[in-house]
Amino acid sequence: MQQVERIDDILKRYEGQNVYVVIEVLSVDKRISKPLTGRLLGVTPDREEARRLARQVQFVMIRWVGEESEVIIVHANNSL
């Protein structure tokens, strides 16, 4: 069983490695809806594998850490 850590610290450890980091979220800053601490479930370059790991827990984060693409501009022409 992995230890409880700050989620920012976990993500920093794998920065730039082009992998999905899967974390079980254990606490949240309710004012800003931000996950604060968690437990590492796994690290994988495969999205399917990340998805499988995520299914094990009730509150999860899957975060891509690696090369970044440019940001998208979106405009929906018809309202929902």
Binding site: I32, S33, K34, Q58, I62, G66, V74, H75, N77, L80
Partner: protein, 147 residues
Amino acid sequence: MPTIPFDPRRRLIQVPVIVTVNGQRQGLTFILDTGAAQSGLSQSVLTDIGINWQSADRFARVSTASDNISVPIVTIPSLEVFGITFTNLSVLALPFPIGVTADGVLGFDLLSRFWLFINYRRGLLVAEPMNRFFHRFALVWQIFRAW
């Protein structure tokens, strides 16, 4: 009073969002996009959280920087942002390219529910729900502090 720090060197504002589907909660990251009319989630993320966007029966035309495409509209049972929970929210299922570090975009439909103050120089975003009239003074104080 939600005050969210962001890294201004990244040239975008990312905010934490929590989505709940079938009892499972996912901690996600959205890009604050003042140019987006509607909020949306990446199609991969929708699949992760168990939303079947491929069988959607509603669609919207979407303009991106390079294309004009039709994307499915899906309903998210619960989405929490800046401490406020929205239920049964219609969002776009967006085809994000690999490498986009965000899981979705926060567009006008949700942003318009908040008072927002952004200090780009210091990398601070202050958000307060519109309906909390008596919190406006607190918002002014928060903005003053973030100045």
